[in-house]
């Protein structure tokens, strides 16, 4: 199912969207698949981060997830195995989150083709702004992959229009100045950004960076967000819990808690 279809279907039921992020291969391939199924119970879209050695957009929690995966021998080809295996038991849309070098080195066309064949539905390339993305957008269109771009609190009006035009699926609103990582409250910038983008964008608006609890989710939905993207809160559970069973139950509980706050 395409990302946009999924979001439209939820919106028809007056539901808002939970995108749940974890790091592929953290701590290994098999457990990632297990964790994805745990998240799947309450998540609408899965975002799978591809570990990179130099993740400049990420805070400590997700960086550590990348380090765990790379230490255990994660290879970029593993991402396609993980998606393929997950697909055997679920049709929840999957979005791959990556840094551009991993795509560039594999070859743009090859990477996107492999992603599509494995069963991924879209991509977020966190350090590829629309200005550098012409070829990428063209290939994604050919392969039927959603191109999800980000908008930051300081993105200008002109660029918001360009980004919205280049986006399919949903817009990823960055809620704060800084990197990923759980925060307790929502910054004022997030509300201002929602207000600004709401009047400009035709795509659904999902808010990420720093979102980790029900109060934040409820306030964002009230302010007009179509959903939220949560990452560090899940990756933290994986990093913290020693026992595999605790991770699985922790992920399930957190995802359900967040999804509950997304109903009207």
């Amino acid at each position: 199912m395409m990302v946009f279809e999924k979001i439209s279907e939820l919106k028809r039921r007056d539901e808002n969207v939970l995108v749940s992020f974890i790091v592929a291969g953290d701590p290994d391939k098999d457990r990632t698949i297990e964790y994805l199924h745990a998240l799947d119970e309450s998540s609408d879209i899965i975002e799978l981060g591809i570990p990179f050695s130099d993740p400049v957009a990420d805070g400590k929690t997700i960086q550590e997830g990348y380090v765990r995966a790379l230490k255990n021998g994660f290879k970029v080809s593993d991402i396609f195995d993980i998606v393929r295996k997950f697909r055997e038991r679920s049709d929840t849309p999957i979005v791959l989150m990556t840094y551009y070098n991993l795509v560039y080195v594999r070859g743009l066309e090859r990477f996107l083709k492999e992603a599509k064949f494995a069963g991924a539905d879209g991509l977020i390339v966190v350090d590829l702004p629309v200005e550098e993305g012409e070829e990428y957008i063209r290939y994604c269109k050919n392969f039927g992959l959603d191109t999800i771009f980000l908008i930051a609190p300081n993105t200008s009006r002109d660029r918001i229009v360009n980004i919205d035009n280049a986006t399919t699926g949903f817009i990823y609103l960055i809620s704060l100045y800084g990197t990923t990582g759980a925060k307790k409250t929502v910054s004022d910038e997030a509300f201002e950004l929602l207000k600004k983008t709401k009047s400009i964008c035709k795509n659904p608006l999902l808010v990420g960076f720093g979102i980790s609890n029900q109060e934040q989710v409820a306030s964002l939905i009230k302010a007009g967000a179509d959903g939220v993207i949560v990452g560090s809160a899940f990756v933290d559970i994986i990093g913290r819990c020693k026992d595999d069973k605790d991770v699985v139950s922790g992920l399930k509980k957190k995802a359900k808690e967040l999804k509950d706050a997304l109903y009207p």
């Binding site: 050695s53 130099d54 957009a57 594999r106 350090d127 702004p129 200005e131 930051a152």
Partner: protein, 395 residues
């Protein structure tokens, strides 16, 4: 649409969205101010009276005689205030930041030379200054850390990844994303997203312009060869750029570390593959997946897995020849220059000296070579002493 300034395929702006607007703002501001008379007058003043420019072009007579080949000239960037060419860029960017209304500057540093030069400029222009430096580099360059602190800068230790320059850049980029409104990121080399590679090159080109004037005065002609070390590549591009359209052989020397075959080196141009890191498409040391490799060099300032995108372009066009010098040869050149000329070079610059010595041997006596002596070596004496004590080299 912003001006996507590239060098062939290289360069560009590959950054998280939060950094796009500050980069566009910076590009706009820089393009307006770079030909501004007042700005350039002010810059000239600080170059002269604060930095000590122009620096001499010095004929290394003893070294030339000892080698018995081409004449070796040294462009004495080691005499710039702070002991390296880095101040050429930091004064200019700090002045620019001040005019942009920024109150805080941040920087990455490897050997600590750029951090020191940033601390100087920060103090000069009363800007709050914070420096990111890898844990490992802090260990091997303690004196520079203290110098930065003396001048009022705060030094943050970076413990992630390889704990060197690359990781310091990552952390500075994260800081910048969190503080874009009042902070300018003062990148220390010709790396990073546009407009940095162009802007830093312009600020460092004073090295080449002065060299050109001095050599014509001295020799009545341009040099036959120019040699400079390349980490990120700012002293090299600053030296090369005013000569790109001339018939002058340009050679960039990368850190060969423990040898290219060992994988422990920092030779991105000689041994890397194209990729995207820290905002630009350029040659990188990386594995088959695109994960960035750990690098190695005895010179902390060369210990970086990427290189300025313009160097990648100049390599591909063939205009500049890039080669490597390993740790041992750099150490030997460090000793030779110290002993023969009474000039202690930075280990980074010693790479260029070492290659120039090899080159001079096979050239005629009336040929001339210019070496960019990018920094002085006081910061490196402990490392060199340790290498002597361990028997790696003999004094």
């Amino acid at each position: 649409m912003i001006d996507m300034r590239k060098f062939g395929d290289f360069g560009g702006i590959y950054v998280p969205e939060t950094l796009m607007e500050p980069l566009i703002e910076l590009e706009k501001f820089y393009s307006e101010i770079k030909d501004d008379e007042v700005f350039n007058k002010e810059l000239e003043y600080y170059y002269r009276y604060f930095a000590g420019r122009p620096t001499p072009l010095y004929l290394a007579k003893n070294l030339t005689e000892k080698i018995g080949g081409a004449k070796i000239y040294l462009k004495r960037e080691d005499l710039v205030h702070g002991g390296a060419h880095k101040l050429n860029n930091t004064i200019a960017q700090a002045l620019l930041a001040k005019k942009m209304g920024k109150r805080r500057i941040i920087a990455e540093t490897g050997a600590g030379q750029h951090g020191t030069a940033t601390a100087m400029a920060g103090s000069l222009f009363k800007l709050k200054t914070e420096i990111y430096m890898g844990e490992e580099d802090i260990q091997r360059q303690k004196m520079n850390v203290f110098r930065m602190e003396l001048m009022g800068a705060e030094v943050h230790s970076v413990g992630s990844g390889s704990k060197t320059l690359k990781d310091a850049v990552n952390e500075a980029l994260r800081d910048w994303a969190a503080n874009v409104i009042d902070t300018h990121y003062l990148i220390g080399s010709v790396i990073g997203p546009h407009p940095y590679p162009t802007m830093v090159r312009d600020f460092q080109s004073i090295i080449g312009r002065e060299t050109r004037e001095a050599i014509i005065k001295e020799e009545g002609c341009l040099p036959d060869k120019i040699v400079a070390c390349v980490g990120g590549g700012s002293n090299a591009i600053g030296m090369f750029h005013p000569f790109l359209n001339d018939k002058v052989g340009l050679i960039g020397v990368e850190a060969g570390g423990k040898g290219l075959s060992t994988g422990k080196h920092s030779a991105s141009l000689c041994n890397g593959k194209k990729g995207v890191l820290h905002g630009a498409l350029t040659y990188l040391l990386q594995d088959d997946d695109g994960q960035i490799n750990q690098t190695s060099s005895i010179a902390a300032g060369l210990d970086y897995p990427g290189v300025g995108p313009e160097h990648s372009f100049l390599k591909d066009t063939g205009r500049v020849k890039y080669t490597t010098i390993d740790d041992k040869k750099a150490l030997e050149a460090f000793l030779i220059l110290s002993k023969e000329e009474g000039i202690i070079p930075a280990l980074e610059s010693a790479h260029a000296v070492a290659y120039a010595i090899e080159l001079a041997k096979d050239m005629a006596k009336d040929d001339n070579i210019v070496v960019c002596l990018s920094g002085r070596g006081d910061k490196d004496v402990e490392i060199v002493k340790d290498s002597i004590d361990r028997g790696v080299i003999k004094i």
